[in-house]
Symmetry: C2
DNA sequence: CGCTATTTGTTCAGTGGTTGAATTATTTGA
DNA sequence: TCAAATAATTCAACCACTGAACAAATAGCG
């Protein structure tokens, strides 16, 4: 649009190439890849070096004659993102640098249900302060933070409803701001973004994977069942940011009543409580994650009730997922959250339902795989989204840092 | 990226503003709206005028002193799009100009099922030739064509499967090219694009509506049930272009078997055959569209069987649609194709299911409305997509036309 | 060891496109 | 009739990219 936009755009293009490359590319390679001249690339790279977004790295070994190239890589001492998570039975904080590496990482296990939102966020602020100190020690500058919450969040960061935490209309940024002051707004994005846990976990999975423009469905099996939808390498949030409510897809309309008011929703068959109850682990009153671990052990040992429970849940999940795949024509489904450790048993029935119900499965198969990231996928995804924002629009960061 | 991209981009920006405005804007208004200087806007507009994409129009009446402005509007004698459709019981052709007005329009009713693909396309070519002659008479230049087909189409325009037409692996562009020679490739887009009927109908609905960045689900109830998904003003095609297969969402997993291999799919409850059978119109052997009209008449007269059939179909449709709305967080559902005339009876049960099952419906309601366009929605949408492509990237057209 | 071919990265004049101010054009209102 | 106001154009300045020439640094070869 404006004249300077050209430079802004090229900064983003070149930085994106550096980020996407598997080995530090030279200026010449960048020129060849982007179609720009070497002169332009040099000028752009100079800006990026001056802004500490890029650093000269070990040149990639080369064969043949010629002046050796100097490799360019994302700076590991530049801006970084802070990722936070409040969930039913843990708090988490992590720091991710520009290159996507997790530089700091804490998980604090505790049942947060009996705790007030203010108290939970105060405890989270302690974790955040530790992460912040750690980041400073490593020379990183925190450029923003993202907080994952298992619930519905609006644009302003207000948690409208987090049923399994028992939260309703909690103004998170206001509660957290006092405890952990953050840097100022950048490009109109607030310093703390609050988002749904399933959304951020899907983003984490996206950036952990190799393909940068992937499309997939990331299903998080917790107490509720959430899905993050990634289309063409971008998270799809829906008109109001409340997409991904897969838990209430009808699986069996005459099934048991669900708290949403419907009947036979996916959640009543493949929610954590439903699976545990079917496996006979309902009364044990274990924390959710240990219960899941226990279930996986039982299934691994061949316990028939556990196997039956997982088969039933997998079939229900497969019915719902097949519908989504039919609708959106996705090629990959990721089993995340509580489903990840159970993937060996859930995968076969899910695949069976997909191949039964998805018309196009015959032409091109659908991949079903467990999530690559562990418990803190959402925190890592949130922190990653902060640095991705800088990579996508480096001009904003450069202007800010002088 | 490159230097000239700046001008290309600004051509698109200014042209887009002219297209989106409700009254012909002046250069000064465009400058204020885009943030560009009046000098730049003048230069850009000069290019657009020279390329016959824009024409000076009646200036918008103004109050107060000052030199009068000259209004700018999309040219009505520039490029236009040809829209074609082959469906089960009709052929259609239309011409849409840059401004989105339908300048030519023919529908030829005939049962195409007993006819070979080659013969059907030959007949379609006749309609196309008439449309072409009509366009030429009005001074329009056809910039490309889009053909809507009720089936799965791949990138090359090969119709993989159109079950209700009985087509399989029909190479449409090759068959149609001889009959109706079209202009050369522009920007790598072939002169004839073949696409799914539901997709193009959704595009037609998008451009017919006021909002330019709408998100909605367009459900076409024909023999099969297809859906076009519009997200943020853009059609979502899926990884391979096969999105929108809503007809096989499970509504009642223990229901009647479906030809897809599943059980109780939406199609077995809300497909045209299912509705007509439930209303007692199965044996009548009428063409599909007259049968639908007859059903609407019966329902209007209070026929109990017809009302029961529509209520049942509406509920099933509502279950499926509620799932989609939960998943994608859409705010609008459009009932199109064969559902449009039945909307008065389908809407209430669909709305009821949505408000029962969609969690966020309490905060912000979901609109369910009949399609604004009639039978030829897909043809009009296809023709519109051709001219939209020019509006989105005017530089390509300008380079082509000298 | 020295020369040449080769590749990388920088320098610099040239050009396209936008910018901002000044100028011209055209109307309303006093 | 003239001043104020708004629209559109003109023009020198500037910014960013382009292309070619050039400097830097290395491998290969005699």
């Amino acid at each position: 649009m404006r004249q300077g936009s050209l430079r802004e755009w090229n900064l983003a293009v070149v930085l994106g190439r550096i980020a996407a490359a598997d080995r530090p590319p030279s200026r010449a390679e960048l020129a060849a890849g982007t179609g720009l001249t070497r002169a332009t690339v040099s000028a752009v790279v100079e800006d990026l070096l001056a802004g500490r977004l890029v650093a000269e790295a070990e040149p990639t070994p080369r064969t043949g004659a010629g002046r050796p190239s100097r490799g360019l890589a994302l700076a590991t001492d530049g801006p970084a993102g802070l990722g936070l998570e409040v969930n039913v039975d843990y708090l988490a904080a992590c720091v991710v640098d520009l290159a996507g590496r997790v530089r700091h990482h804490t998980v604090h296990r505790a049942d947060l249900r009996p705790v007030s939102p203010a108290e939970a966020l105060a405890r989270l602020a302690e974790l955040a302060a530790r992460a912040r100190a750690d980041a400073a020690r490593e020379g990183l500058t925190l450029a923003g933070a993202a907080l994952a919450v298992p619930g519905l969040v609006d644009d302003a960061g207000l948690v409208r409803l987090a049923p399994n935490l028992g939260w309703r209309d909690v103004p998170v940024p206001a509660l957290l701001a006092e405890e952990a002051p953050l840097t100022a707004h950048v490009d109109g994005v607030p310093p703390l973004v609050v988002d749904n846990e399933a959304n951020l976990a899907a983003l984490g999975e996206l950036h952990a994977g190799p393909a940068d423009r992937a499309s997939f469905l990331h299903v998080s099996g917790e107490v509720g069942i959430g899905a993050g939808i990634v289309l063409d390498g971008a998270l799809f949030r829906g008109t109001r940011g409340w997409s991904g409510e897969i838990g209430h897809l009808p699986v069996r309309p005459d099934g048991p009543p669900c708290r949403c008011g419907g009947q036979g929703c996916l959640e009543t068959y493949a929610g954590q409580e439903a699976i545990l109850a079917a496996a006979g682990l309902a009364g044990a009153d274990l924390p959710a994650d240990t219960a899941t671990t226990r279930l996986a052990e039982l299934a691994g040992a061949g316990d028939p009730a556990a196997l039956r429970a997982l088969a039933g849940a997998g079939t229900a999940l497969g019915v719902a997922v097949a519908g989504v795949v039919n609708l959106l024509d996705l090629d990959t489904v990721v089993l995340g959250g509580g489903y990840a450790p159970l993937a060996p048993w859930l995968r076969p029935p899910v695949l069976a339902e997909i191949s039964r119900r998805v018309l196009t499965a015959a032409w091109s198969p659908v991949t079903v795989r467990p999530a690559a990231l562990g418990v803190t996928a959402a925190a890592v995804g949130g922190a990653g989204s902060v640095v991705r924002r800088i990579l996508a629009r480096p001009a904003g960061w450069l202007a800010r840092s002088g």
